[in-house]
């Protein structure tokens, strides 16, 4: 324990898992990193050892024992049914996979710490939501389907492990929507659409978490000693309409009755993987309180929501129809014009006054 940690990562072949593995490789206090996934990791990882296995495979338990793993980082909860091969297999992986992994963790004798990468989606998204979700607030309308429900159940298994093994440290990180240059997310595919469908009459408040901050918070959770549930997000909020304007895109408000039909069509055409729970997000939004992250967990996100989104736009080269600099320039031009007219008028009035008096 004193000399360093032996970390097991699930979902290491995903874009985000790869980033976390690379960040862990940089650290001297991490002795060994073992990655588990069903696919080969496409990332150029150096120190990380790779085990190709499904989480439901009993092999995971043997790896835990053989490598004397003391920290498990569970990153493989997936939110996109399309990428996971359908909603059924996504749920199978998210819920049953976590259950099996926690069972293996319970059996391990050297394990000290379990970190779950969860999501803000566990709070759901509804009109009865408070302005900001604290870690201990319970939503009046919990998510009934999709990723939020899966993550809620996965969190349940992690907490159950905590009850059965009180000697383990547990950390559950609820991440806001990830944006950033490398990790693909639902919002990335949304903002890649030519025009952005929104729900007519609704303007959700959004909150983003930059991928660097998410990686930083997870590495800190894995190597530190803080435990408990914590929200991870950038400070501040953006309205969807504001985000669309920042991106210079054109919103197309869709009346509520047609929204689900449109999203199904988009899903079938493969342009955007928008699941029903994300549709509710487009209607009501969700914002989390990050006081605990900053004060108790001791992690200060580098990017605010706004800065994260700006960085995302810039590094992804998402160029919209309206260029912000162009707008500033046009305003400046008009301003100059007005100023000039004001001068002329002033000079004239002087002249008139002068002539009147002479």
């Amino acid at each position: 324990m004193t000399e360093g940690r032996r970390v097991l990562l699930t979902g290491v072949s995903g874009q985000f898992g790869g980033l976390v593995a690379r960040a862990l490789e940089q650290r001297d206090d991490v002795l060994e990193i073992v990655g588990i996934d069903v696919r080969e990791p496409p990332n150029d990882l150096r120190r990380t050892e790779f085990v190709r296995a499904d989480l439901r495979n009993p092999l995971v338990g043997r790896v835990l024992e053989a490598a004397a793993i003391d920290t498990v980082l569970h990153l493989s909860l997936t939110s996109q049914p399309g990428a996971a091969g359908g909603r059924t297999s996504m749920k199978e992986h998210n819920v049953i996979g976590t259950m099996q992994l926690m069972a293996a963790c319970q059996a391990s004798s050297v394990l000290r710490r379990v970190v779950l990468k969860s999501t803000g989606a566990v709070y759901g998204s509804a009109h009865t939501d408070p302005a900001l979700f604290r870690e201990d607030s319970t939503p009046r309308i919990p998510p009934r389907q999709g990723f939020g429900k899966d993550a809620g159940e996965a969190e349940g298994y992690v907490r159950m492990l905590g009850r059965r093994r009180p000697d383990l440290d547990l950390a559950i990180l609820r991440l806001a929507n990830l944006v950033g240059p490398r990790v693909d997310s639902a919002f990335q595919s949304f903002f890649a659409l030519p025009v952005l469908p929104t729900v007519m009459g609704f303007d959700p408040r959004l909150q983003f978490c930059h991928e660097d901050d998410a990686v930083g918070a997870l590495v800190q959770a894995a190597t530190g000693d803080r435990h408990g549930t914590v929200n991870v997000a950038g400070a501040g909020t953006l309205y969807l309409s504001q985000a669309i304007r920042l991106a210079g895109r054109v919103p197309v408000p869709v009346p509520l009755p047609f929204v689900s039909g449109l999203s199904a069509a988009l899903r079938r055409s493969g342009r955007a993987d928008v699941s029903p729970d994300q549709l509710r997000m487009l209607q009501f939004g969700r914002v989390m309180d990050t006081t605990r992250l900053r004060e108790e967990f001791g992690f200060e996100p580098e990017y605010t929501t706004r800065a994260a989104f700006d960085d995302f736009l810039e590094r992804r080269r998402l160029r919209g129809m309206i260029d912000r600099d162009e707008a500033v320039r046009l305003e400046r031009e008009l301003y100059d014009f007005l100023q000039r007219k004001g001068q002329e008028r002033f000079l004239e009035s002087q002249r008139a006054g002068q002539e009147g008096r002479v």
Partner: protein, 483 residues
């Protein structure tokens, strides 16, 4: 103070012009005896600028352009009776030699004056910050702007000469011919004419207002505005929604209010008011009244139905309302905001005409618990007049249940629908009176009242009783519903 020698023409920005306009009175009192420039202008008149150093003004200073500094910008304020009754008749105006001298550099073509003028024109612009949006490359913009104006200054000498040759054709100043040509080339010509027409028709303030409007539009279009965690968009609220409501407040319902001194100017406070009128107009109007009188935004707490309704929920969030839950109210009060709550909720809003000005049950007293947790004063508020905007004759319960509304009102205006069409559905123009009562200080109720239901209900009833009394008092004092 009508000495023409006092006239001074070194103003290059609207801001200064405005300042001059405002400072006119003080200047008339103060006066001033500064030294004038001793040089002669190209037109053979004495230069009227103030002397800066060596008995010369900025334009006629013998120094080289590199060592020149920005001229004293306050100079313009010395002018008494400036733009006051100045006739806007632009067409008749001819460029006055002394003035075209300072703006375009001397017509005789000494390059020094031109360079100085160019530098001067560039300076205030580069220093000014038009857009507050934190967009990248603003410094670059500033630089290019400066370069452009410098070029404009260079061109201006030529343009001036052209003007002189053509007998000063038209009202436009020669020094800006280049920029005007640019604008014309881009096809903004008709827009410029329109602007000039408008400007002639309106006051000077028109320009200020237009500039404000353009800045606002740019902020909205590019998303360069801030919202708080609750989604309160102050930019939109104060610049669009409140100006839209103000005519209703001033002229339609002619709101008079008293007791505003009871609303704290800083720190938390909880406004508790009666709710009536089928549509929550009283919430909006009270909010505006408080804002206009104290400059504070009273953050409303709304029912969850509000946030489920399309458009309404969106607007409510943007104006700073949030869900009426203990969580949100605590958070707002803890950050020192003024919070407004209408504890009757839909029961007060949708009560029948026969029950007008009879306060309904005040929820479950949650607002008292919130105020005690935050230790803020409760300000009982009585609104008279909102009952009469939509008198509710019946409540069509079946329709309401089918549509998912809390009530479905039948108001007298509906009977005028066949005659007046949609105009019939306007609210009635009743006369409103808002009274802010004596605050109930947190010292009078303990911090632990939230844990004591009996005391909580008791205090809730007290607040309700007090508002009821205020309502009766104001009702007795009013002459008629509409006057």
């Amino acid at each position: 103070m009508t000495d023409p020698a006092k006239i001074e023409a070194q103003v290059f920005s609207l801001d200064e012009q405005r300042a001059a306009r405002d400072a006119r009175f003080q200047e008339e009192v103060a006066g001033g005896g500064r030294e004038r420039c001793g040089a002669m202008t190209a037109a053979g008149q004495a230069c009227r600028n103030y002397a800066v150093d060596g008995g010369r003004c900025r334009v006629h200073a013998p120094s080289d352009p590199d060592t020149e500094v920005v001229p004293p910008r306050r100079a313009a304020r010395r002018e008494p009776g400036l733009a006051g009754g100045a006739p806007p008749a632009r067409s008749g105006a001819r460029p006055h030699p002394a003035i075209s001298d300072t703006s375009g550099g001397s017509g005789a073509g000494d390059g020094r004056g031109t360079a100085a003028a160019g530098a001067r024109r560039g300076a205030p612009r580069s220093g000014r910050d038009v857009g507050e949006g934190g967009s990248q490359g603003r410094t670059g913009q500033g630089r290019t702007g400066q370069g452009r104006t410098a070029q404009g200054g260079g061109d201006s000498a030529r343009a001036d000469q052209g003007d002189a040759g053509g007998g000063g054709g038209g009202p436009r100043h020669g020094s800006f011919a280049w920029a005007d040509a640019q604008l014309l080339q881009r096809g903004y010509g008709s827009a410029i004419d329109g602007l000039e027409l408008l400007r002639d028709a309106a006051d000077d303030r028109f320009l200020d207002a237009l500039r404000g409007l353009v800045g606002f539009l740019r902020r909205r279009v590019t998303g360069a505005y801030e919202i708080d965690d609750f989604g309160f968009d102050e930019d939109l609220t104060t610049h669009v929604l409140m100006p839209l409501l103000r005519p209703l407040h001033r002229h339609y319902w002619r709101v008079t209010s008293h007791g505003i001194e009871h609303v704290p100017l800083e720190g938390g406070g909880l406004l508790v008011a009666n709710h009536a009128g089928t549509l929550p107009a009283d919430a909006l109007i009270t909010r505006l009244d408080v804002f206009d009188l104290t400059g504070r935004h009273a953050r409303e707490l709304g029912a969850d139905l509000v946030f489920r309704t399309p458009f309404v929920g969106e607007l409510a969030r943007k104006t700073g309302a949030t869900l009426a839950s203990g969580d949100d109210a605590d958070r707002l009060l803890a950050s020192g905001e003024l919070v407004a709550v209408w504890p009757e909720g839909f029961k007060g809003l949708g009560k029948p005409w026969k029950d007008r000005y009879k306060l309904q049950r005040f929820g479950r007293g949650g607002f008292i618990a919130t105020a005690s947790r935050a230790q803020v004063p409760i300000i009982p508020t009585a609104i008279v007049g909102s009952e009469e905007i939509y008198p509710m004759l019946f409540d069509l319960r079946i329709v309401a249940r089918l549509l998912g509304f809390p009530y479905f009102p039948v108001v007298p205006q509906m009977f005028a629908l066949p005659v007046l069409g949609p105009f019939a559905l306007l609210p009635l123009p009743s006369k409103w009176v808002i009274e802010y009562g004596d605050p109930i200080e947190p010292s009078s109720f303990g911090r632990d009242i939230a844990e004591d239901p009996m005391a909580l209900f008791d205090l809730t009833d007290q607040v309700r009783e007090r508002i009821q009394q205020m309502l009766h008092r104001n009702l007795m004092g009013r002459r008629s519903v509409f006057l």
